[in-house]
Symmetry: C2
């Protein structure tokens, strides 16, 4: 009883699109201002795009890059590029030109879909690369377009016309085939090229629908960047439930709130820093959303204080945890009934846990790396989060050594230090490299940041190690204050002293804007540099 064409079909999220065209043909797939496209239209356009890519010579396994903010075209490309057999490489648009050039070169990209606003950045990247790639321009009605010669550019709609939208495309020959190439943010050294396969993307989409209890016909606000784990795989998942993706191009709170009201948004995902902006915005509605909007947050552990504020706004936030290497989420902080009776502040603390395994995660463990054994669920013993499952990357492109290290002993090692509570919920203490070791004691920067976020003047906080002659390292806090708020270092220190063990209280307080990645992650390596300079020269 060997597999045959009737009973074995390689898993691919691209298959969800063909189903959407039959099952939900007239549902709106994408909304962008006045532009609305149904799933039938999106499916037809994707076949046209895939056909055009093949006619341009794209072969199975070759990379196609995308450099653009969230726009309806990105929903299409997320299906069309893999449909053509290509590998989708969505590039972080806040990277510098030199790094973008590195990615285009390292990933051997054949073609770039580029937003019209970003052509200067792309041109700079081409200059750094020393060669040009064919370019397809998004939103190109805004600027003049050259003819589509090799090395030239063509508008997205003209490119689509190059294809035959009657062409059909089967599943990949092998579900292990690459579907996407996502570069890590590269906080140290060159970014690494994380390769996803069709099987994992299919399972992640299904797992997200189950893990988030996503109903039929969600109206989903596109906030999570497409370059972050392919929009947390949400675009693929939405096709399976006839969802509508609402685009605003820019992530300004007034635009987001207007879109929520106009389109009746029911769901979105966002980094904690975006939630913080929404909660603080003067454009926030006076009454909380009713019914509440379902929100996933990831990218950094959300501070309990932020969760308290978003709850008051009518946002029902579930934290999910994962990494680029794990297609996004591998755990979620599922609400437990016994939390119902807790006061809001304690509920928010519970919600800030990283939680339990996502439905398609086979193992979400906290292991003692030296022994490979699970740490006891005592809420105190630290280990490293280790993951096993079908939504773990194939590996790092052209980097077998780092790949082998990442997979040592049959797990993907996250680099995150965590504890397990008696109820089985995992809590990150820190990135292993962010742990501050002061006088031989471990200090979790996350714990200290949690206290700082409770201070009413604090908008964002980051705590890093500062070299100390006496203690080896001591905590140094960088703080962003709320608009119009004031605080002085002594007051902050006093606030911490009331809430933290003495050795955990920051020894230095710096008020400054925090450097962040495009996904809202604070770039601690930059703050560590500043802390080192500060320690060397306190003036």
């Amino acid at each position: 009883m060997e597999p045959n064409a009737a009973n074995f079909v390689p898993l691919s999220p691209v298959s969800f699109l063909a189903r959407a065209a039959v099952v939900e043909p007239d549902r709106i797939a994408s909304v962008y201002g006045e532009r609305r496209l149904t799933w039938r239209e999106v499916e037809t356009r994707c076949r046209g795009l895939a056909s055009a890519l093949r006619r341009r010579g794209l072969r199975t396994g070759q990379t196609v890059s995308v450099l653009a903010p969230n726009l309806p075209e990105l929903l299409e490309l997320q299906f069309a590029i893999p449909m053509a057999g290509g590998v989708l490489n969505t590039i972080n648009l806040r990277l510098d030109a030199e790094t973008i050039a590195y990615i285009l070169d390292h990933g051997e990209s054949r073609l770039v879909f580029c937003d019209a606003e970003l052509t200067p950045l792309l041109e700079e990247a081409f200059a750094s690369l020393g060669r040009r790639l064919p370019v397809v321009l998004l939103e190109a009605e805004a600027i003049p377009v050259e003819a589509g010669a090799e090395g030239g550019s063509v508008s997205y709609e003209a490119f689509l016309e190059e294809g035959d939208s009657e062409e059909t495309f089967g599943p990949p020959e092998d579900e292990w085939q690459a579907i996407a190439l996502n570069y890590t943010s590269g906080t140290s050294g060159r970014p690494k090229g994380v390769v996803y396969h069709h099987r994992g993307a299919y399972l992640m989409a299904l797992g997200t629908l189950v893990g988030w209890s996503l109903p039929r016909h969600p109206v989903y606000l596109s906030v999570v960047p497409f370059f972050h784990c392919n929009g947390w795989q949400h675009p693929w998942a939405l096709a399976l439930v006839g969802g509508t993706m609402v685009f605003t191009r820019r992530l300004q709170p007034e635009l987001l709130f207007a879109a929520i009201a106009r389109e009746g948004v029911t769901h979105f995902g966002a980094a904690p820093v975006v939630l913080s902006l929404l909660a603080a915005s003067e454009h926030a509605p006076a009454a909380p959303f009713d019914p509440p909007i379902q929100v996933l947050t990831a990218g950094a552990p959300p501070a309990p204080a932020i969760l308290e504020r978003t709850a008051a706004l009518g946002l029902e936030v579930m934290q999910v945890y994962g990494l680029t290497e794990t297609y996004g989420h591998v755990s979620h902080c599922l609400w437990r009934e016994e939390w119902d009776s807790l006061p809001p502040a304690e509920q928010a603390e519970k919600q800030a846990l990283q939680g339990v395994a996502f439905p398609v995660t086979e193992e979400f463990a906290v292991l003692d790396r030296s022994t490979g054994r699970p740490v006891p669920p005592d809420g105190a013993t630290q280990g490293e989060i280790a993951i096993r499952g079908n939504t773990v990357m194939k590996g790092y492109l052209k980097d077998p050594e780092t790949t082998a290290q990442a997979f040592a002993g049959g797990y993907f090692w996250s680099g995150d230090a965590a504890v397990v509570h008696p109820d089985g919920y995992v809590q990150i203490r820190d990135r292993l490299k962010d742990v501050i070791i002061s006088g031989g004691e471990n200090i979790s920067s996350v714990e200290v940041e949690g206290v700082l976020h409770q201070h009413s003047a604090v908008q964002a906080a980051a705590v890093v190690a500062m070299p100390s002659e006496k203690w080896g390292e001591s905590p140094c806090a960088f703080l962003e204050l709320r608009p119009g708020a004031h605080a002085d270092p002594e007051e902050i220190v006093a606030f911490c002293q009331q809430r933290l063990a003495r050795f955990k209280v920051p020894k230095a307080i710096v008020f400054a804007e925090l450097p962040k990645t495009a996904t809202g992650k604070i770039q601690k390596f930059r703050l560590r540099e500043r802390a080192r300079k500060l320690a060397a020269d306190p003036a």
Copy 2:
């Protein structure tokens, strides 16, 4: 970048149980009268059972049979037998002893879990088989139990104690490994042994959660027999969302309504004949369920008249369609918004369609078998439903010829004649072998039955071909009347004449109890025999 232990884990629904023990440990998994077990308890018991099975010598790929009504033990066995590497063979308890003996022999069963009430049937089967198998008795507190010698019997709880519930079991080595062996009802000739694999069962469970929009923590009434496609795969799916399965042992309406009220049932699945019984029951509550209970129905196209009555009862019914060979459902009749404004009778007609592809079904097509091409979506041209996907059986056990026929041309051929409507919704016209060909015209028995169900006196109707000298075949209707209702053949014929083309009106009307399978399917082959005798000797 080859698969390794970190990024490739064979898919198996057994993995959902380990997750449930961590994620939903204290949620009730099974309820049976006063007996309640949590998911943590069920998981522990399953490890004990799997350990006991291995200690009894069970090897990977060997068959273990179950002969019992729906009981909490069956939920456990559905996980424990595959966990031990065994192949789960749940036998239809309404089969005759000789057929059961055939199944035990053909499937090479090693052990039988048997309900205490069914031991006489099993003993008869052993007599027919000419040998005994080891037996584990369910509900054995009711009757005396022998020692657990080879060939003897042991109680379920004593068997469980033979194992070590500390033992752990990994995923199968290969996701293509057999997980279940389900025999077709065998309406003609010997039943066929349909083999499922772990991959398909995993995907079907995920697909069901998505296709039915199953939320977290459903309270599910166990009505669908476990021997029907492993309870439509629902037990596996429930583990992933912390569901509770409510058991009543017998499917009497008063017991079911009492369980619904007591446990707050939110979901169940049932054949149309069960829905009909519920709707007609004097135990039905006066007010409709609010919120409505979500119901899947399958096994036969539900008559619109039944759907109208269940809607009034507060049952939100979605029809699903599939076969034993497809792990259950491959299509569902998803509600369309444009139906909202239709009158109830027309809504019920829409809901009686077989609908569109289930989320994990790769292709749900209606093909012209001679050309292999899809029929036009005109609601009139008939073809055969053909299916492709990962929830199609591995094949028929020890029957390569029939397997090859079933998979001709890379599709699984359902044997069901159907049309496709302009909105893409598929409607079964008939089992191909149930089509009545009268004077060269095709008559759909389903269409005639639909009209008969509209008659207020009719409880159940079945229409089959009766040999006719003049027409070749003519329709013959067998009718079950509602308790206390009266009707005469002339009245029924007149009723049909007003609603059907002349040639479709039944030429003979017989009032009789309809022979049914355990899953509520009417055994038309028996009625065809009666119709043949009737034609030969109308007296």
